[in-house]
């Protein structure tokens, strides 16, 4: 492009980056194919048992494996929130009911005031399944969608934030981040900024993404669906397994008192690849920028990270690019694994789901191994964990990258309770 005429930004405007004041993560929960709530999720990680199954979703005729949440078909929405009824919001509803999470939100609203609690959620496809199914029932003459189709309550990307805000009685800023597979990692950055700036005192963050035909057939069109359970970072990898999940966290301004969870968000970093819509930067430049920014904000060196939860989708291009970026920053000394062999790639929910896995790892002193991966790709050269290890952890870094070259890295840390 012709850049003449644009003034360069004055170098004096560049400033050193102080550390982020750590933001306590006081409550969290997750529901995925590993089960509903933290206990089931923790048990699966400790047992090394993944939750993928051959694709049995709707009438999708695809030879692949999926991470499906059982029982969504039976979830009933609150009568006053019936307009939000769709697979995605049912999954949100099911997850909110676990681990006392909805009660924690109501307590936060009472403590800070409902207008001082933000709702910042990520999703990639929201309730698009409702629209996909409605297109099968269009009026044969005029092509109209069936009566009762509610775009705002289901398909629109913000329906999940509207639903959670309404169901928990929160009045603060409520927004959805839909940036493909970085969505629910980026929500932690947006929420941390709002809390740091003083706009709100707490934020419910999280990600909700549910199975639909757009992603199943879409990844199929890119020839990225694995015909077997996915094997991240395995030289025999054959692509991704799609999953669905809802994962939530409650970030609250530090109140000075003890906090039972003993966890803080200590850093976040974001970047753009500026390279390609569906392929990562081949050397993982954007990934490296995001991880470096997270380390800088946390005031940590690479050697202080005890475990990396990789994006690790099990596509050859993702694994190679992320592996190169991790190797450049961390060498081959930092234990790392992808947990997508357990859960599948839950797309817009993956960032938040993997923060919850990082939280479990920190609390349990567990470095999760890999479900599915039998051999670490020798071409990549990082300390890839095939088997779980037990060790006290202090800082965990989690990566989430998405189509459009969107990258986010988060650091979760354990503090004395």
């Amino acid at each position: 492009m012709n850049r003449r005429g644009f003034a360069r930004i004055d170098a004096a405007h560049a400033r050193p980056r102080p550390s982020l004041k750590p933001v306590p993560l006081t409550h969290f929960t997750a529901t995925s194919c590993l089960g509903t709530g933290i206990t089931a999720t923790r048990a699966a990680l400790l047992a090394g048992a993944g939750g993928l199954r051959p694709c049995d979703f709707d009438d999708a005729a695809l030879t692949t494996w999926i991470g499906r949440v059982d029982g969504l078909e039976a979830v009933r929405m609150p009568p006053t929130l019936a307009r939000y009824d769709c697979r995605n919001n049912r999954l949100a509803q099911l997850a909110l009911a676990q681990d006392g999470f909805a009660d924690a939100l109501r307590s936060a609203a009472a403590r800070h005031g409902p207008d001082r609690v933000a709702v910042i959620l990520g999703t990639s496809t929201s309730g698009i399944l409702t629209t996909e199914l409605a297109y099968r029932r269009r009026d044969p003459q005029g092509g109209a969608l069936p009566a009762g189709f509610d775009y705002r309550g289901t398909h629109n990307v913000n329906s999940v934030a509207e639903f959670v805000r309404a169901s928990c009685g929160l009045d603060g800023p409520a927004v959805t981040v839909s940036s493909a597979c970085s969505s629910s990692a980026k929500v932690f950055a947006t929420a941390a900024r709002m809390i740091a700036a003083g706009l709100v005192d707490a934020a419910v963050v999280g990600g909700v993404d549910s199975l639909c035909l757009t992603t199943l057939y879409g990844f199929n069109s890119l020839e990225l669906l694995s015909p077997e359970p996915c094997r991240p970072f395995d030289p025999g990898r054959r692509g991704i397994s799609i999953g669905e999940a809802a994962a939530f966290g409650l970030l609250q301004r530090h109140a000075g008192g003890p906090d039972a969870a003993g966890l803080v968000l200590s850093g976040y970093g974001e970047s753009s690849d500026a390279h390609h819509m569906s392929a990562p930067h081949p050397q993982g430049l954007g990934a490296r920028l995001a991880m470096s920014a997270a380390l800088a904000r946390a005031g940590l060196g690479a050697a202080q990270i005890d475990y990396i939860n990789l994006h690790g989708t099990a596509t050859a291009s993702n694994d190679a690019a992320e592996g190169a970026a991790v190797r450049e920053l961390f060498g081959d000394r930092t234990p790392a694994s992808s947990t997508k062999g357990y859960t599948g790639h839950t797309l817009g929910a993956a960032g938040a789901l993997e923060v919850v896995i990082a939280a479990i790892a920190l609390q349990e002193g567990l470095l999760p191994g890999s479900a599915g991966t039998t051999r670490a790709d020798p071409e990549i050269g990082i300390d890839y964990l095939l088997e779980g290890r037990r060790r006290a952890l202090h800082h965990v870094l989690s990566n989430s990258f998405g189509f459009g070259g969107t990258n986010a890295s988060l650091i979760l840390s354990r503090v004395a309770p």
């Binding site: 492009m1 005429g5 644009f6 003034a7 930004i9 405007h13 560049a14 400033r15 050193p16 102080p18 207008d115 990639s124 629209t131 996909e132 099968r136 269009r138 092509g143 969608l145 189709f149 509610d150 775009y151 705002r152 629109n156 990307v157 913000n158 509207e162 009045d171 603060g172 800023p173 409520a174 927004v175 959805t176 981040v177 839909s178 940036s179 493909a180 980026k186 950055a189 947006t190 900024r193 700036a197 003083g198 706009l199 005192d201 057939y217 879409g218 990844f219 069109s221 890119l222 974001e270 970047s271 753009s272 500026a274 819509m277 569906s278 920028l289 998405g402 459009g404 070259g405 969107t406």
Partner: protein, 270 residues
């Protein structure tokens, strides 16, 4: 209740492409009282993307890129240097319609390009490819409050120490959906609004903007034709801000966010 936080910035650059409002200089005159006629939104041709990418993008990406570039030109800043906030109520409705039609047919093989263009952050992705900007890009959606949510995200980033090197680009954009989705989500015509915000007064004569969360009712446009534009597109909910900028002096207005929240804005033009 805790005292409400006020966030302040300076507006270095503005752009708009909306019905009857083609570019900020012309729109400024129209909004300041030179007269407004609603005509179909004109989106400038896009020379920036490589030809292969240019053929692949839909109206919504062309609108977002044109809006962002015009705002950067207005502020005389290099787009590659700026972090961005992309705010929209939704993604590419035409692309979504084509995918849903294919998935409802006997042959469900959707095109790979349609699939990667279906992500809600496609405009941000193409912006990076077009400008080379590797800075963070926030993506926010809040239905008809998306413009306010995007403005608030940008203002919060400017207020967070060491977040942005002092400047940020907001691109708000929404385009109509084809039928049958249009009936479920009526958007009348395309609208893009871009702002380059600066955390200090850099002497370019830009207006000072202060925002805070509140619950006052949203500001409407006095002119009926402009009010129809405002309510016809989620991004056009930002028109009262542009009208206040065009009017100059001290102005107050409220942008809608959600049913219990509005963004109160005070503008001071030097």
């Amino acid at each position: 209740m805790t005292a409400r936080l006020r966030l302040t910035a300076w507006i270095d650059g503005v752009s708009v492409f909306a019905p009857g409002l083609t570019g900020w200089p012309a729109a400024r005159a129209a909004l300041a009282g030179a007269g407004f006629t609603a005509t179909a939104t004109e989106i400038p041709k896009l020379a920036l993307l490589p030809p292969a990418e240019r053929r692949r993008v839909g109206t919504i990406v062309r609108l977002a890129l044109a809006t962002g570039l015009a705002a950067c030109e207005s502020a005389a800043v290099d787009p590659a240097e700026l972090p961005t906030v992309f705010a929209s109520s939704g993604g590419d409705g035409s692309n979504c319609h084509a995918i849903c039609e294919t998935l409802a047919s006997d042959d469900r093989l959707i095109s790979p390009i349609r699939f990667h263009n279906s992500v809600n952050n496609a405009a941000s992705g193409y912006w990076g490819i077009a400008t080379g900007a590797m800075a963070p890009s926030a993506i926010v959606s809040a239905y008809d409050g998306s413009f306010a949510a995007g403005l608030l995200e940008a203002m919060v980033q400017l207020a967070t120490p060491a977040e942005t090197a002092g400047r940020i680009l907001l691109v708000a954009y929404d385009v109509p959906y084809p039928q049958p989705l249009h009936a479920a989500r009526p958007i009348s015509d395309a609208c893009g609004i871009g702002l380059v915000l600066h955390d200090r007064d850099c002497g370019r004569g830009g207006a000072r903007i202060t925002v805070e969360c509140g619950d006052e009712p949203e500001t409407r446009m006095a002119d009926a034709a402009l009010e129809a534009v405002r309510t016809g597109n989620p991004t056009a909910r930002g028109l009262p801000l542009l009208a206040a900028l065009a009017a100059g002096g001290q102005q107050r207005l409220v942008l809608p966010y959600h049913d219990r929240l509005g963004l109160s804005v005070a503008l001071a033009t030097g």
